[in-house]
């Protein structure tokens, strides 16, 4: 009967554990399979940390919103921020390592997200970025 929860998150990495805890509890209540809960923990960490790090390059204190809904055997994650326009679906694929050397350390977050969800939608409405991710489990 509990269908969705909504979180307000500050642009501060210290807020990430609270997202983790909220999704862990809600996912368990909704009887989402544990592996799907974990996959979306990864997704939430990537998406939220990118917004925290990159959405407001001018700094200052900002909030964004995460909505988590479980419905018809799927989890829907909606993330809304009013930072600079950014469509994460257009993030480039990670840089490949030159033969015999290691790849650069960054640039893998969105690449993971793409592989962990079944749908990845983005919309810019007014001053807001809206990312919508869907993962099916049944």
């Amino acid at each position: 009967m509990l269908r969705s929860i909504e979180l307000t998150v500050r642009n501060d990495l210290a807020d990430l554990p609270a997202i983790h805890d909220a999704w862990e509890r809600f996912g368990a209540e909704q009887q989402v399979p544990a592996s799907v809960v974990v996959d979306l923990q990864v997704v939430l960490d990537e998406v939220a940390s990118n917004i925290i790090k990159y959405a407001w390059p001018e700094g200052g204190s900002h909030n964004f919103m995460i909505r988590l809904a479980v419905c018809d055997g799927a989890v829907e994650v909606e993330v809304i921020d009013d930072g600079r326009p950014y469509d994460p679906r257009e993030a480039p694929a990670p840089v490949q390592a030159a033969p015999g050397s290691r790849p650069p350390p960054g640039g893998r977050g969105i690449h993971l997200v793409r592989q962990l969800v079944d749908r990845f939608d983005y919309e810019r409405t007014g001053a807001e970025n809206r990312v919508r991710l869907t993962k099916r489990f049944a």
Partner: protein
């Protein structure tokens, strides 16, 4: 588990310094992994084994930390290897395209045999 969701423990087996990670490694705590490895390498450790048996999952922040630490180890002529990379954690390394970027040495026993 600490509130950060990650416990970092240190042990020793002969010449090998074993760092055991338990919990999750993500953007809120990967800096602790970097700090730990940075301190060990800085203190002159030449053989570091990271045991991931207790890691529930990791995110790209963990890859960043491990790649940075591996580079630093190399610059200091130290070895940084991983062991117990299995199940979902292994899948995530694979999704990250990073299975070949680290020295991954099977179980802890296998790893210690190889490093000693």
């Amino acid at each position: 588990m600490t509130t950060s969701g990650l416990k970092i423990a240190q042990g020793r087996s002969g010449a090998v310094c074993v760092v055991t990670l338990t919990g999750r490694i993500d953007n809120s705590n990967a800096k602790d992994v970097i700090a730990e490895l940075d301190a060990l390498i800085g203190s002159g450790e030449k053989n570091i084994l990271l045991d991931l048996a207790g890691v529930l999952y990791l995110t790209s922040a963990a890859f960043r930390a491990l790649l940075v630490a591996t580079d630093q180890a190399e610059r200091n002529e130290a070895r940084l290897a991983l062991c117990s990379v299995t199940g979902h954690v292994r899948d995530l390394f694979e999704m990250g395209g990073l299975l070949d970027s680290f020295t991954i040495l099977g179980s802890r026993d296998e790893a210690l045999a190889r490093l000693s």
